[in-house]
């Protein structure tokens, strides 16, 4: 008992020590140099963290752009397991610390008003990277830099109507419910396909962007429809690749019996397209660090920027197109 008490006492002393050290570290950071007088410009990047190859490429590209050599100090704060709460915490601590600019890739669209208002009060410009917020109150942030989800998913829908002039039975593999990307990709698809009665929607399910879940979901979807699914719209590459595995396991040929279209354009997906397993890959270009750099410079110089900056993306509709693009693929 006595020993136990002493151990507890030691433990609390140790944790208090750690806390004090941490706090002093904070104040040391915040107090000294600010971006205005010569030191590096401090950028807080509230990021998503490990999610898939696309995100990896996007965030690595950001980190490579905002380097010390370019005069920046990028503080990278990935979310813990895609949890919004951890993002809000990181955002708040960036505001308290007084960084010069905050870059935000929100894991979830809603629930950002209070945090964004705090940043506004502290006069810290916020730039949305890729993910938007809901409701989309443009006064709360400076600009959003992202490829246009609507346009990208419309390009998938356009390909579908060309490939299946007589229509098809299709299934949608979605990201987690409530994320802005999912809503936008659904909207773009539905605007085109929803107007065509020859396309029959068998259903939509979330597979949480994951290959494993997509495989499990799609094997059951195939069974519940007696393998009569001709078209799959997978809202990211990973889920599309999971659907490929499920199709192969059911003894069908992906690309022939079931055509699978995905969004993102990662290397893995293009390899699958080159091998004829996927049928269409719409790129959602993650490499826009340069654009972000430009915007940050303009914002710090007090210039006006558009409230939405679209990053151009391309599409791949054949194995040949994939093969030519593969050697220079960065993600």
């Amino acid at each position: 008992m006595v020993r136990n008490k002493r151990f507890h006492w030691l433990l609390s002393l140790a944790s208090a020590g750690v806390l004090v050290l941490g706090l002093s570290g904070c104040s040391g950071d915040g107090g000294g140099e600010t971006g205005d007088d010569g030191g590096p410009t401090k950028i807080g990047f509230v990021a998503v963290g490990p999610e898939g190859a696309w995100r990896q490429a996007n965030e690595a590209n950001m980190q490579e752009t905002f380097t010390k050599e370019a005069g920046f100090e990028l503080k990278y704060a990935p979310a813990t397991n895609l949890d919004q709460k951890s993002q809000i915490d990181a955002f708040t601590s960036f505001v308290d610390e007084g960084v010069d600019v905050i870059l935000l890739s929100a894991t979830e669209g809603s629930g950002w008003e209070d945090s964004l208002k705090r940043a506004q009060e502290a006069e810290i410009p916020v730039i949305l990277i890729d993910r938007g917020i809901e409701p989309d109150t443009t006064s709360l942030y400076v600009t959003r830099i992202a490829p246009d989800n609507l346009q990208v998913s419309k390009s998938v829908a356009g390909w579908a109507t060309e490939t299946f002039p007589q229509g098809a039975n299709y299934f949608v593999l979605e990201g987690p419910a409530g994320v802005s990307v999912v809503n936008e990709r659904n909207r773009g698809w539905n605007e085109t396909i929803g107007a065509k009665p020859e396309f029959k929607k068998l259903g939509a399910q979330t597979a949480n962007w994951s290959t494993e879940e997509a495989k499990s979901v799609f094997e059951t979807v195939l069974k519940s429809n007696n393998n009569k699914v001709q078209l799959v719209f997978a809202q990211n590459d990973e889920m599309g690749l999971g659907a490929v595995l499920a199709v192969e396991e059911a003894g069908l040929v992906p690309g022939k019996d079931v055509k699978i279209a995905t969004i993102d354009g990662t290397k893995n997906a293009l390899e699958a397209l080159a091998a004829n397993k996927l049928s269409f890959v719409a790129e959602y270009n993650p490499l826009f660090g340069e654009t972000a750099l430009d915007v940050v410079k303009k914002v710090l110089a007090g210039e006006k920027v558009e409230s939405y900056i679209v990053v151009p993306s391309q599409t791949f509709n054949s194995p040949e197109a994939a093969k030519t693009a593969l050697p220079q693929r960065k993600f």
Binding site: N4, G49, P50, E51, G52, A53, Q56, N81, L82, E174, P176, A177, G178, L202, G203, A204, Q205, T206, N208, W209, S210, T211, E212, E213, K215, S216, V217, E219, T220, V221, K223, S224, E238, L241, G242, L245, E249, A250, G251, N268
Partner: protein, 354 residues
Amino acid sequence: MSTTERRTVGGLRVLMRRQFFWGIIAILLLLLVNVLKDPSFLSVSVNSTNGNLVGNLVDILRASAPILMIAVGMSLVVATGGIDLSVGSIMVVAGAVSMEFLKANGQSGGVALGALGAALAVSALLGVVNGILVSVVGLQPFISTLVMMLAGRGLAKVITSGQNTAASNGPFRWIANGYVIGLPVVVLLAVVVVLLVALVVRRSALGLMIEAIGVNPKASRMAGIKPRGLLITVYALSALLAGIAGVFATASVMTVDVSRTGYQLELDAILAVVIGGASLAGGKFSMGGAVVGALLIATLDKTIVFLGVSSSATPAFKAAVIIVLCLLQSERVRNLFTQRRAARARAPKESVTA
């Protein structure tokens, strides 16, 4: 009433008294709902080209394999009065270790065995750490395994340098996707592991000792049970089983998803154990119950997809099924029903006498 009839009625009554009886009923009801949607749901056919069994039931069994592993481990931990929150994270560690190992070493069967061995060894090691934190350091199981839950996913990210890692290796893929005499390997392996664990804990005094710790640690120590070694063994076993689950989950797609593999599966495991009738206060475990619980969760997941419940309604649907099941299991709620029925049966009699 003939004797055989009486015996079956008696058998049914014994089964009804088992907590997991309601779990079985729930599985049957879910299957029934699926059959109502599509009468061919239960049909299992033989694939003409390779002789493998295919069907929704086979899919459910395959999907239940990883949950089965962690639920069995969890039931032992819960029986000691502890809890293991780290199983989901240990799954992702096992997945990360095996994928990195395969990526570095190539295609052969020996490499697959090496990956399996490395993954399981690392998992068991993490379990030993859990066990030491609980039994030697004397931290609360909730806290020690919570620490491991956070550290585990972090460790997986370090191992894969934060990326989802894919590898290709035929024999390793076979573990989750292969078939032997028409049956999926992953199901056979899961059954063998469960039987093995059940045999070891029930045919020896081990199970009894585990439960004794859960009932009263002090009394069990005085009765000559050494809790330290036993607790370390139990946590190591739970982690080892989680490692196997991680191998199952990653081998099925040959990719480890550092933020998704095994994510929140510790909750599924706890749920399976509770559905199986174990009390979180410890002191008893039921292998059969854990198996029923794991099967129920897999059936529920597949039912949601089969019925086409929309993504946004999925969590609510799952919660509704589980709360109904827990209500059915509760003695008090059941008594309420029987009392009302008895009251109604009594009521007309009273009116006659009056």
